[in-house]
Subunit: 292 residues, 2 copies
Amino acid sequence: MRDFRPDHRWLSMNTATVRKQRGEPWPLPQILDACAKRGVRAVSPWRDQVAAAGLAATASQLKAHGIELSGYCRGGLFTYTDETSRQAVRDDNLRALDEACTLNAPCLVLVVGGLPGALAGKAAHKDIALARSQVAEGLAWLLGEARARRMPLAIEPLHPMYAADRACVNTMAQALDLCDALDPARSGALGVAVDAYHVWWDPQLQAQIERAGRERLLAFHVCDWLVPTTDLLEDRGMMGDGVIDLPRLRGWVEAVGFAGYSEVEIFSRANWWQRDGGEVIDTCIERHRRCV
Amino acid sequence: MRDFRPDHRWLSMNTATVRKQRGEPWPLPQILDACAKRGVRAVSPWRDQVAAAGLAATASQLKAHGIELSGYCRGGLFTYTDETSRQAVRDDNLRALDEACTLNAPCLVLVVGGLPGALAGKAAHKDIALARSQVAEGLAWLLGEARARRMPLAIEPLHPMYAADRACVNTMAQALDLCDALDPARSGALGVAVDAYHVWWDPQLQAQIERAGRERLLAFHVCDWLVPTTDLLEDRGMMGDGVIDLPRLRGWVEAVGFAGYSEVEIFSRANWWQRDGGEVIDTCIERHRRCV
């Protein structure tokens, strides 16, 4: 297992971690400057942040700073209610793929979607099996497009508490079943993003990481699970402040050959989003060395 | 599948659903009177409510009303940090068993516990595998005591969002693995409580219900998952107000032979706990006929 104590060369900042500090959006160009200044070698930006800064400008700035991507957030949201929404989803995923290519991302991270309409507060139906079949269908289609662009797709299983509104793929086993069905050759074109926050509780976790193997472990995200957790979405903890045994988990992914970045992704409305962005990045660096 | 529309003979009220209305505890004797008045034939009371009303008095009142139990809430919390806490847990579980016997409960429902200390806000460690092994050990011991009293134990897998602080058994598969290990003969002494709120998201749910079979389906709980859900513990929805396909789920448990009560268990700080208790029971009756 790699020793993270001496430096933070394997730290990646997911830029949502510092997306709005003290109520003000922190623009991506400033986030990238702040990362570069601290020797952070990788980031994972969100599409809305890139759109605000400009795709070409972001690509140039990344190149100038020598910062690479550990992933691009995000595609997916495959579930739909009619042909119009189905087509809109496809078009949007193509744009996401093309952006990921422009930014030279190692993978496009996919949050697959829940019951259509649920995220807006009103689910169109209660048939999660139907939603899951739409995800499989959408993934199969997107995989063809992604292969043509040589852009790997990373399915991110989300915590079961997001099954209704964000992602109906909720376990590593379920994500890997999709990989087995759609890419039985383990070509590397399709895999998973393992986010500690979403999967730490899973009694099958170690076994499923072994099942995934190096070819299918495309990204590794860290933060922490706080006790108590006061919000389902925006109360994630800084590494070390919660109950996830992150070194153990990292040991499991490295044991099967994962050697990429640990990407810090923290949504924290009441705590980390209320601080100075530079302080947050500094804390991520320190905790990455000590707690991951 | 039974037709629930004509009456509510298979409705059970979990008494936590009306435990404190508008800030005031609603005492169990009044809850039981209100249930009896409405022809509710079964309840599942909590230990603290029974303790406040008196065990013998509760038993007498239940008998006088002709109300039976669909379960008794609850034993478990097996995880510990030292011999003193381990013994305290055992003593408390014995008391719970004896109370369940006095009340003629069909089963003692078990919430198995999470990381020790986490419920109080500070976990003693981060080793969920250790917590799970303590649960298996505690269950094995309790099963011996329960067999001697002929009181079935129902393991309730809790939603993964409670893995840290309430229960580290989080899927049907995991609970049934414990049943297989501890009661391979499927004697009926050990089984599961299937609560729709905790398991609705599980892609393996139908398969695991079939695996459980009639001998291991000891209780069936209903409420609903709201979108959005604003609190991890106390924002459960009334049946019909959320996204769980309850009739489908009930169809699955009935297909393997379950023919018991649908127990309504709703923790709802901001909505149902702010209403008149009688109104809540009336609503449960109406929704039970229409949405379960």
